[in-house]
């Protein structure tokens, strides 16, 4: 289980780094919203991998809260954002 956790952690950290590059470099606000949404999913995946590795259920409510807050943030930013000048 340790090997699986290490490989999954490395893959998820690499995915988070690539997504952070898209958040920094995205040409418009919508690209950044896409990146932030996917970064929330990657963070929830990382917490789930840690819970499976440690067999510790303390961070399971954090996964639920992260999914909720990520949805609210992405929907609000997409709905109420001001169009950026190009």
């Amino acid at each position: 289980m340790t090997v699986v956790a290490v490989i999954a952690g490395v893959l998820l950290i690499a995915a988070a780094g690539l997504t952070c590059f898209r958040i920094l470099a995205g040409p418009s606000t919508l690209d950044r919203v896409v990146g932030i949404d996917s970064l929330t999913a990657i963070a929830a995946s990382g917490l789930a991998v840690w819970a499976a590795y440690d067999r510790d259920t303390t961070d399971v409510p954090a996964i639920v809260a992260l999914a909720l807050v990520g949805f609210l943030g992405s929907a609000a930013v997409t709905r109420f954002r001001v169009q950026d000048d190009r």
């Binding site: 490989i7 995915a15 690209d31």
Partner: protein
Amino acid sequence: MSLFFDVVSGLLILTGALLAFTAAIAIIRFPDTLTRMHAATKPQVIGLILILVGAAIQLRNDGQAWMLALTGLFTMLTAPVIAHLLGRTAYREQRNRDGLLRINELGDDIDDV
């Protein structure tokens, strides 16, 4: 029996992490907001659900595994909503790559209004 559960959950977690990684590569490589949104939504959701199932198999003796199932259900409910909002806004504001569409129902409706 415990080894069997370990192998199954390990395979699920590895597949989910690999899907998240390929989604991140696609977010970097794709040229357009719509294609990036497509790449971000589907493998991300499926990868997250696979990882959650793997974690729930590991935590099967605990009641908390049901909260992981709840998270997966909630992700499946909310990801289409965000994709719909993003796609609509992206179509309205930046009409790049217009010639790729053969049937454009949203464009026809917007032009009618």
